[in-house]
Symmetry: C2
Subunit: 367 residues, 2 copies
């Protein structure tokens, strides 16, 4: 099953906890910025090898591939195989994004500090865009038409990395979906707690509240003690869904790209701009609306959308004379996966929403 399992660690060259020793080109960059990685399964002393079972392609990457190939699954599969063979990692050259994976720990290097044991089922919490990967089964069990890719192969985790064991009580596919967005609820909760520590119980608006990261962020805001939460969604069906699962105190419909419509909707729902606004929709052009919907005296905007434009946010706040703190959503916070699983277990609303979302996606109607 894992041909490398019983071989001694034979790499003795110096290795780097961030994986610089695996970068083939260009020299000097981190694995994420590399065009080609050494993905060979043999370990350096601080690395961990995973026997891969499922890849989860990033939504933007999968959409680009399926559109490019006009829905031809065979062509999509061939391109994914080509990318991985050429780059030593699954990083879409157009979107730059990767995804994540589920697998079983196959070998732990003698100097690895990752808290996992051989045989445990884990998901990686770092992007596939920087994870050395070899595919060994030609993706023969995948039709090229789903984001989740049954896969045989090996992946490498570096010394400084993050992975989480898949909880026994959750299906691996749901665990993977939760982990993919686990940074959002953890950072939302932290920011709410910081306000409370300073003596101000904050209101929280979540743009894209009916999505995966949005619903978890709403649950986290409430869990951390927010005064009022409001979920903003783009249309009626999403509003019904979010209302059904009772994750937000208020649910409003607004186009996040329309600054006036968005800020008016938030103000009407809360009676004032939000103290904290969390942006969870992957649509360009939401920066001005998010800033305008947030208190210009000490509010905070957390941008989790990869479609965020840095300059639109920076110049937008200045142009609005808004003293908001603007955070780039960091996908990593210590304990974030455990916290997200905990929210899922404690909140039937989050479970309901994830179950419905995932049923939609496997039937091909992903939002």
């Amino acid at each position: 099953m894992d041909a490398w399992q019983d071989r001694p660690v034979s790499r003795t060259a110096p290795c780097s906890p961030v994986g610089l020793h695996r970068v083939l080109e260009p020299a000097g960059v981190l694995p994420q910025a590399a065009t080609r990685l050494d993905a060979s399964p043999e370990l350096w002393p601080d690395e961990t090898r995973i026997a891969v079972s499922v890849l989860n392609l990033d939504a933007a990457s999968f959409r680009q591939l399926i559109t490019k190939h006009d829905g031809d699954g065979d062509a999509v599969r061939r391109e994914v195989l080509d990318i991985v063979a050429e780059r030593g990692k699954m990083q879409n050259p157009v979107t730059g994004s990767g995804g994540m994976l589920v697998g079983t720990v196959a070998e732990v290097g003698p100097e690895a500090t990752l808290d996992v044991r051989v045989g445990q089922q884990v998901t990686t919490l770092v992007s596939l865009s920087l994870t050395p990967l070899q595919i060994t089964d030609g993706l023969a069990r995948w039709d090229g038409l789903t984001e989740q890719v049954p896969c045989g192969g090996t992946a490498i985790l570096f010394g400084r990395t993050i992975a989480a064991t898949v909880p026994d009580d959750l299906p691996p596919t749901m665990a993977m979906a939760v982990m993919d967005v686990a940074g959002a609820p953890a950072l939302t909760a932290r920011v709410v707690e910081q306000y409370i520590a300073r003596g101000r119980t904050p209101s929280v608006a979540v743009i894209g509240g009916a999505g995966k990261s949005g619903s978890l962020s709403l649950a986290a805001a409430r869990d951390a003690g927010a005064s009022t939460t409001v979920g903003i969604v783009p249309f009626e069906a999403e509003a019904d869904l979010l209302t059904d699962v009772t994750l937000a105190d208020r649910v409003v419909i607004a186009d996040a790209r329309d600054p006036v419509a968005l800020s008016t909707a938030v103000e009407e729902a809360l009676g004032a701009p939000a103290d904290i606004t969390v942006v969870c929709v992957d649509v360009p052009g939401c920066e001005h609306g998010a800033i305008l919907a947030t208190s210009p005296q000490g509010g905070t905007v957390i941008f989790f959308s990869m479609a965020t434009s840095f300059s639109a946010a920076a110049l937008g706040a200045e142009g609005l004379a808004s003293d908001v703190t603007m955070l780039i959503g960091n996908g990593y916070t210590p304990g974030h996966a455990e916290y997200a699983f905990d929210l899922l277990r404690r909140s039937s609303g989050v479970r309901d929403l994830f179950t419905r979302r995932m049923a939609h996606e496997s039937s091909g109607t992903s939002a």
Copy 2:
């Protein structure tokens, strides 16, 4: 001098403090995102009109124009006139950026809340990319070869805006240069103070420490009580300059685009990663280095460079398992211009550096 000065305010249509009533197209966006503004000099009740004396084009915008026209100043001047005539504002269509202006307050609407009086000399603190502007002198006094543009015309400030009076003790051109980067020292000082309030006296690394925003950020970090400050510069001449003006406790040379070189240099200078790293160089590809140079347990990176890539920062921190807080540098903080002027007055090092930088720029060797 100002033909509109003695006319009553005749606009009675509803106006918006963020200037939505001046947007001609497309409908519903903020003035910054608009392609065309109504720049007519007649005021709505909460507006303020400025008689313009000097425009300061954003460096990226000016560089694009002068390169496009192969150094032909007449062609640059014609294009600036065309842009302003067409768009009703000076926003470079390629770079999206604007600049700022100096002028004299010509009329204050009866409902304006901006704290200025007719006749005062002011600089605008919002970008030209959202400021309604009419040019009336054909830019006849400008040769098209400098970022600073002698200009006759009128500009409009909205109800919710920011401007600062030009201090009597500073040359207007230096005041304008300081205001242009005033957001950086104010936010740097605020973040240092937040660390101190939580019981941790932070070290501060400033990437691009010998530039205008960088030098002010170093002065602000020291002023706010940072433990140790380090300025990172790209080559020897900049190191000599920064060492001469004694604004940083340590000065080191490193390429900010090389994550390993940068983080190694910062660690050697401080004995550990920086608690706070401030990115002040307008070069793409500094995100990973800045994150790696910053404490992965509770460090903060403040990105002031408009060349920052949101996704490189977000995915970079996750890939490095770094629990850093990442801030989008907001160009506005209450009192930021006054604070920057104060630093300039109190620090001979900052004054020296600005004087030398501005001498370089007017001789055409801008960095």
